[in-house]
Amino acid sequence: GDKVKQSPSALSLQEGTNSALRCNFSIAATTVQWFLQNPRGSLINLFYLVPGTKENGRLKSTFNSKESYSTLHIRDAQLEDSGTYFCAAEAASGGNYKPTFGKGTSLVVHP
């Protein structure tokens, strides 16, 4: 099965509302990254996390390594938040830090 599972796979939000995206891991993740792929296809890094929480503007992300999940909270969603959100987990193995990506959450924010 998928080592990194993202949910939901798709989400539609009204402008100004809040929501949360989730990643569950079946690997012993040590770090997590969150990216946004915008409609032009560019992948933009949002967060790099060790266990704990980070916040940046309307976005907040938490990584709980003991329970093997990470969340990305979006507050006051704006039209420009639309795109596909990916999480990627690193599980160090003998110096190999290959990240494993989830399949993404496709977000559409509408007026």
Binding site: I44, E90, P99
Partner: protein
């Protein structure tokens, strides 16, 4: 800082031809990653280098695909005898290191094999 540079941005090849994709990482970054993205498979890891040395190529199809990093300023992904199923967006990313650093992605090369 120009970010990660990938060339060409678009490439169309005929079945059986060779395709070479180029990546210039951010200056000073020691790790370079290659991924392939399709609608069906999503983002797939192909290979990565650290300080120009290949570390993990477990995602590379064993035949026809090869990657090199001859110097710290560029990496190439070569596909021999391209097939229609190789059509995808090929993404390169670099990071200041591994195990503690975020990745910065290039714009990708969209490869179409006819």
């Amino acid at each position: 800082n120009a970010g990660v540079i990938q060339t060409p941005r678009h490439k169309v090849t005929g079945k059986g031809q060779e395709a070479t994709l180029w990546c210039e990482p951010i200056s000073g970054h020691s790790a370079v990653f290659w991924y392939r993205q399709t609608i069906v498979q999503g983002l797939e890891f192909l290979t990565y280098f650290r300080n120009q040395a290949p570390i993990d190529d477990s995602g590379m199809p064993k035949e026809r695909f090869s990657a090199q990093m001859p110097n710290q300023s560029h990496s190439t992904l070569k596909i021999q005898s391209t097939q229609p199923q190789d059509s995808a967006v090929y993404l390169c990313a670099s990071s200041p290191g591994t195990g503690g650093h975020t990745q910065y992605f290039g714009p990708g090369t969209r490869l179409l094999v006819l």
